[in-house]
Symmetry: C2
Subunit: 351 residues, 2 copies
């Protein structure tokens, strides 16, 4: 297969972890006889510094014309504590999601047998956890009207959803549930929010089209609790943008390290793959960041091309690296830890 | 002291747990020579059934004229899956918060030595946790404009904050931090939301008035994660209404049972005390619900009257009940469990 992949390394540890994924993908391409052509493009603070824009048009062109996008991370603390900053790296991320129409963010959470005791949660609570969040990614309060009034003394943000936006996300949820345990949980705050009531009524109306799927409706506050209490009681969860942001980060704790969880963002045409950890600027340039979430995102990418064997080869190599302790410092016990690039090299050699 | 307490039992397990708090308060009054006059009033689904309104004017009158309000819980599943319901129990709760001006919801999270192993989190992660959330309670998306457009196919909710609303909440946060470890965390989503940027800039401007307080600014998604990873790295956290709703419920898991955590809601004049668990309709009428969160809320109430000894007496009795295993089924090991009313009786006898 000929694959054209847009490569958006981004900020902070982004470039380092992306490098490792590239190595692993190249090794897979060699082994399975594919040709990957990488198209690097600027994004985030890096793009602001270079061209004054966090998601430049040239980058968008490259993404639109690619078969998939592999993405690192975006964000720089320089902008976080400056409420008056005009251009922010995150705007690039949001613009990218919107312009590429990436409406469904798929975030699996699972445990690794060899890492289960790393979790802050007790083994018996998390064993067997294998859940997937489908987070709506191009709507809600992220993209609603916002601003100031009254000389800057009043601020507002608007959360908006259309029935169609809910439906296309929920459809992916029902379909995913059909391939798994046929359990779907719709997470909302329908006891307060009008948008949540629209979510709930839209999903309720779809139930009849998927009679085999058992649908539960839970409030976001209750899920924030149960996710830590009984994560393995969940399977597929669908939710709106902001709730998804909060809950998927919370869920990532289950696996024991943020450095492990991959994600895919699905659009009408384009698919984008990225680790769910952020740019983690404190570690940038130290060659110490954990590249596994990005490598596992690359595995999801191969799966997206229906290249299951390739995806499986990557996952097996990751599992072996964990078992043999070829891991970065966030995962190493008192023993030896490896550099980001060493883990990448090892994986590329062992896929 | 003469105390006039409005008593709002509400729905579900509300009446049962409130009864136990009343017993305990009466025992305290007897022991310390206070006179408590209880003024029961309707609220929630119970009030809808009786008078068609979840927070009737008579109830409001009683609350306004009371020295404090002791509140059970509100909510009934009958309304949850009916997106078209015109009157909802929760509206009563929100109306009550707004009309009583209860802008600061104080939610402590702490661990009990005798219960620490009940937590889904590992002992070493939670030991020593003693944090307090100050959740803004009368603003944000809970009270903004909401509605439908486009024949009901588009829904929206608006989140609004004024600088003054942020300031009065943050002031409570700084003051509380000064009485504790002088650490304050402002939780927001300033990389996306305009209201969060207003929060952040308002709190930043207040820092100079509290030079001893060390202020951290963290994104809500990061806090959702770290709260489970390292809860004891937090002390006082301030946040807006919806984030507070989600995070305080998540935090309640730390202690090992939702049935333990009390809260206070502070207004300009009125103070209201309530357990943070909800109405838990599945258990209603079974005399099995855990009354401790409500009893500990009563302890916060005595503290609110500056009756520290009384508050302490209640807390000690609760601790002893836990140590001696006089607990409801949610907390009992294989051993014997007690009924809601039995726990209440025991506490009333032992304060
Ligand atoms: C960086 C930020 C804007 C972003 C979001 O909130 O969506 C991030 O937290 C994420 O989850 O991808
Ligand atoms: C019942 C609901 C409206 C309420 C809220 O969201 O504030 C509850 O969850 C709470 O936290 O007191």
């Amino acid at each position: 297969m000929k694959l054209n992949i847009a490569l958006l390394a981004g900020d902070g540890i982004g470039p380092e972890v992306i490098d490792q994924a590239v190595k692993v993908c190249d090794a897979i391409a060699e082994k399975y006889d594919h040709q990957i052509s990488w198209k690097p493009a600027l994004t985030g603070a890096a793009a602001i510094d270079a061209v004054g824009e966090p998601y430049p048009d040239e980058t968008h062109e490259i993404c639109v014309n690619a078969d998939a996008v592999l993405f690192g991370a975006i964000g720089h603390p320089r902008f976080d504590n400056d409420p008056s900053a005009k251009v922010r790296p995150e705007q690039g991320l949001l613009k990218m999601r919107q312009k590429l129409g990436l409406f469904a963010n798929v975030r699996p959470t699972f445990t690794f047998p060899s890492l289960i005791d790393k979790s802050p949660l007790k083994r018996e609570r998390i064993q067997g956890t294998d859940l997937v969040f489908l987070r709506e990614l191009t709507g809600g309060v992220y993209f609603g009207k916002r601003g100031r009034e009254d000389n800057g003394n009043t601020a507002y943000d608007t959360c908006t959803y259309t029935r169609e936006e809910v439906r296309r996300l929920a459809k992916k949820g029902f379909e995913l549930a059909m391939t798994r345990s046929k359990k779907l949980c719709c997470v909302d705050k329908a006891n307060v929010l009008e948008t949540s009531r629209l979510w709930r009524e839209t999903v309720q109306a779809m139930e009849k089209d998927y009679p085999e799927v058992e649908v539960a409706y839970e409030f976001v506050d209750a899920v924030a609790m149960r996710l830590v209490q009984w994560p393995n009681s969940y399977d597929v969860l669908i939710t709106e943008n902001l709730f998804g942001d909060i809950l998927t980060d919370e869920a990532s704790v289950i696996s024991g390290s943020m450095g492990l969880m991959p994600s895919a963002s699905l659009g009408i045409k384009t698919k984008l793959y990225e680790p769910i950890h952020g740019s983690y600027p404190q570690a940038a340039g130290k060659n110490s960041a954990n590249p596994l979430a990005t490598v596992l995102s690359a595995a999801m990418m191969f799966e997206g091309f229906d290249l299951k064997e390739e995806a499986q080869a990557i996952r097996e190599a990751v599992n072996r690296s964990l078992e043999e302790g070829v891991v970065t410092e966030d995962l190493s016990e008192v023993g030896k830890s490896y550099k980001t690039s060493e883990v990448g090299d090892w994986l590329a050699k062992n896929v």
